[in-house]
Amino acid sequence: MSGEHPVYPFSAIVGQDNMKDALLANLVNPSIGGVLIRGEKGTAKSTAVRAVADLLPERDVVKGCMFRCGASDIRNLCSSCREKIAAGETPETERARMRVIELPLCATEDRVAGTLDIGHAITKGQKKFEPGVLAMANGNILYVDEVNLLDDHIVDLLLDAAAMGVNFVEREGISYSHPARFMLVGTMNPEEGDLRPQLLDRFGLVVDVEGEKDTARRSEVVKRRLGFEKDPVAFCGRYEPEQQKIRDRIAVAGKILGDIEPDDRLIDTAVRVSLSLGVDGHRADITLVKTSLAFAALDGQKDVGKEHVLKAACLSLPHRMRRRPFDESHADLRSVQALIGECYSCP
């Protein structure tokens, strides 16, 4: 890592395997739909999210494009890039690293959606679109800390863009649309209140994290943190080989994922599980299949095994179970595990 502000390396995070798995699965297949991390303060939630950026390979983006359009992603270009290509130009590209864009709780609507460029309007007398957070988030990770406290109308904007992958702006004299495909990562403390079910359903995976209980591991957390703060650059250097291993793993997994098709057993299992839980809608089935595939790919395998489905089920189902208020849903998850075991028992 060679930036000016080194981030704590992903590989140096102690434990929290579920959270790491969930993030990695999303890096391999962003269409899984992001991660919601629930847990108390101080459980390395934010650290993990920020650390993810360093794991991603640089990608080619159109030079000077304010939405950082992917040069190879022809389907999701912004209007100006599309025009350029349609006019026969080959846009210049540059290498860019994926970034973590933070959406602060106090963000106003115009800053999220984008708005009229005031300076341009006053000095030139012309209307111009000033991109907002959703524009910056295109192709990046959109991170919302305390997502359950986000203002309701901002949530509506987020849902709108997340659902379509496009941010349509029709406000303050501006009519504009641009690609807004991002990996949504949220963290929250469940004691502060629940997340709106509609937004909850948009998160592909949900992880519940707890503080480390083991004494030796707790002190390891502290040691590493102190080591990092003392000399971040040296610390990151020490973990660089580990980081590279993870990067390679993601790259390999991405390639494998392009080659594998879900087999009937996997789809059948996903459907049976969803039906037995009475989940809302069809997102659960689709996410379970995608996540299982991603886990298999991360293990370097082309065949999805029982363990991949089990792991995927724990992350993709609990928040989609039809909510009977006031009962705790762990019992259901056990029956899911039994069902998956059954589906994968006969060869």
Binding site: Q126, E172, P262
Partner: protein
């Protein structure tokens, strides 16, 4: 560049597809609503019509829309450079002869919804803004989606939708598997996927085109027209929109089927599409049709209470229902008295009306289980958060300038003003500030007398029940519910205002009771909690529900307890927090202290006697939400 999922590739949901095809085939169907739980392909379905629209564009109304873009506003660039005041058309005008798509329409502002629906229905709207006053004609098809769990539209708005369909998650394992497979294929390569379904899409397009040509010549036999009228009467559909919509949908269905005459089956399906959301005897809409001001919630609860036993306790009728259900189109004809091909002079008696009604009952059974709820209340926001709704001449909030409106106000004068290097010169008189709006959340704090007086146990049961049932509905309204008790020498916040039912259950497991009655301190504490710090946020509706018999017996500052209480009550009455007193005094003689307190606090007062937790919740909701 087509990234949409093609309509023929959507598995199942035949009624919904029919509804969309009807709307595309007919020029008289202007509005279609697709409802359903999250993840039931509402948006996928609605957006899929883009490929079928034959040159018609699909324009999206985003949640962030402001009025100037919806209705139109002054053309800033031309006006500044030429001094000629010109209008930029808004989305409604741009959508002329096109399609407007509104995702989650129930989350949009009331006025946006009204403008969309009114304009779609009448084909024009009046612009009265920024010096423009004109009537603008525009004709478009509005396709909207909503998840009723997030809040409903009003019955009046529902009635404006010509057709409405509800999507349910498919429960057939084979079909579900197919859905997953197709979705993954689509994401892997949209272009290949599109190509694979191109023949089907193309065929559908051909069918649509033929239907559009045929539609003007489709006729409805008189007997069927009568059937439609008697059906609407029987279902107590108010107004004529329902009748018209059934007739138009039936005609479109006939045309899509390649026929020149409407048959019974067309009317049946058309009724499902056009009347399902307008029905009065559907317990759901019946209660919504009540005047929203009074007793809506209580009625709702009662209806809900009687509804399920009704349905379950009539086992005799269920076999008949299943027969009339006819999910399989092939079995439809055999089981119904009048079959479609018996000729047009067939008289459709009251029996066929009930055939259709039974069919509607069967098809919409799942929807009737929906719960009541109005839309969330909205309040003007006084800081710079919230949705930018409109603008006004600056008042107190000078920091939140509506730049677009200010520039538009300045634009016409640019030719005559002196410029200092800037293209636009803005003067003080041009300044406009934003009016912002927020969805209002209610914070309801229960303040419960847990002293040793009579009936404390019953009181606690009622309160727990009320808190939990309020929290169940809380996520629609974004309410926060808290509980504070007072006993002995002071008060204790047992449940900080929360939206989380899980937390509430954990915190409410045990409630200590017994001791003296420090009512004054309790009220002071509760008032302090909601008026200071974390919960003091402006623009929120805050209520304190006090359950007490009013017999205060602990002094705060050494005065007589009742005098101190009265003094405090008068000081905090009318300070923005609403009080509700639930009088727990029972038996004889009654002293009526709580009533006196209610008067001092300017509170709503009622008796707890015999109120169950649910009823208490209903009362509280009723008083609090109908306030203002």
């Amino acid at each position: 560049m087509n990234a949409e999922f093609p309509l023929p590739a959507i598995t199942g949901q035949d009624d919904a597809k029919k509804a969309l095809l009807c709307a595309l085939a007919s020029d008289r169907i202007h509005t279609v609503l697709i409802t359903g739980d999250r993840g039931t392909a509402k948006s996928t379905l609605a957006r899929s019509i883009g490929v079928l629209a034959e040159g018609r564009q699909v324009l999206t109304v985003p949640q962030n829309i402001t009025y100037d873009r919806l209705l139109g506003s002054i053309d800033l660039e031309t006006t500044v450079s030429t001094g000629d005041v010109r209008l930029t058309p808004g989305l409604l005008k741009q959508a002329d002869r096109q399609i407007i798509y509104a995702d989650d329409i129930n989350l949009m502002e009331e006025e946006v919804v009204q403008s969309l629906l009114n304009t779609a229905e009448t084909g024009s709207y009046t612009l009265e803004r920024e010096g423009f006053s004109r009537s603008i004609a525009t004709r478009f098809l509005l396709v909207a989606t909503m998840d009723p769990q997030e809040g409903d539209l009003t019955p009046g708005q529902m009635d404006r939708f010509d057709l409405s369909v509800r999507l349910d998650a498919i429960t057939d394992a084979g079909l579900r598997g197919e859905i997953v497979k197709r979705r993954l294929l689509f994401e892997r390569s949209p272009a290949d996927f599109f190509r694979e379904f191109w023949p089907a899409t193309d065929a559908l397009n051909g069918k649509l085109e033929a239907a559009r040509e045929r539609l003007p010549y489709v006729s409805i036999p008189e007997a069927l027209a009568d059937l439609i009228s008697s059906l609407c009467l029987e279902l107590a559909i108010s107004g004529q929109r329902g009748d018209l919509a059934v007739a138009q949908a039936a005609a479109a269905l006939a045309a899509l089927d390649g026929r020149d005459n409407v048959v019974f089956e067309d009317v049946k399906l058309a009724s499902l599409l056009a009347l399902g959301h307008r029905r009065k005897d559907n317990p759901d809409s019946r209660q919504k049709a009540n005047p929203p001001q009074s007793g809506e919630t209580t009625d709702g609860k009662e209806n809900r209470g009687t509804e399920s036993p009704d349905r379950e306790s009539s086992p005799g009728s269920s076999p008949g229902r299943i027969q009339a259900g006819q999910k399989n189109p092939d079995s439809r004809q055999g089981q119904n008295g009048p079959t479609p091909h018996q000729g047009y002079d067939q008289v459709f008696d009251i029996g066929s009306t009930f055939d259709v009604i039974r069919y509607l009952d069967e098809k919409s059974e799942k929807t009737t289980a929906r719960q009541k709820s109005g839309r969330r209340t909205r309040v003007r926001s006084s800081d710079s958060s919230g949705h930018y709704r409109s603008f006004r001449l600056p008042g107190k909030n000078r920091n939140d300038i509506a730049v677009d409106a200010t520039l538009r106000a300045a634009a016409p004068y640019q030719q005559v003003r002196r410029h200092t290097g800037l293209a636009i010169s803005v003067e003080k008189a041009d300044l406009r500030e934003k009016i912002r709006e927020k969805k209002a959340a209610h914070t309801i704090l229960f303040l419960v007398d847990a002293s040793g007086s009579m009936g404390v146990r019953q009181r606690m049961v009622a309160v727990k029940g009320a808190i939990l049932s309020l929290l169940i509905d809380a996520y629609q309204k974004r309410d926060r519910i808290g509980l504070m008790i007072f006993r002995g020498t002071g008060s204790r916040l047992l449940l900080p205002p929360t939206r989380s039912p899980d937390l509430a259950v954990r915190m409410l497991r045990t409630i200590p009771t017994g001791g003296m009655t420090p009512l004054t301190a309790g009220i002071a504490e509760a008032y302090g909690l909601l008026s200071r710090g974390k919960y003091a946020g402006t623009g929120e509706n805050k209520s304190i529900v006090i359950l007490t018999d009013g017999r205060v017996n602990v002094p705060v500052r050494g005065g007589t307890p009742p005098a101190e209480l009265a003094d405090l009550a008068r000081r905090i009455a009318g300070s923005g927090i609403r009080f509700v007193i639930v009088d727990t005094e029972s038996g004889f003689p009654r002293i009526g202290r709580a009533l006196i307190l209610a008067r001092d606090l300017k509170a709503t007062w009622f008796r707890l006697e015999d109120l169950s937790g649910r009823r208490l919740a209903a009362f509280v909701q009723d008083t609090i939400y109908t306030y203002r």
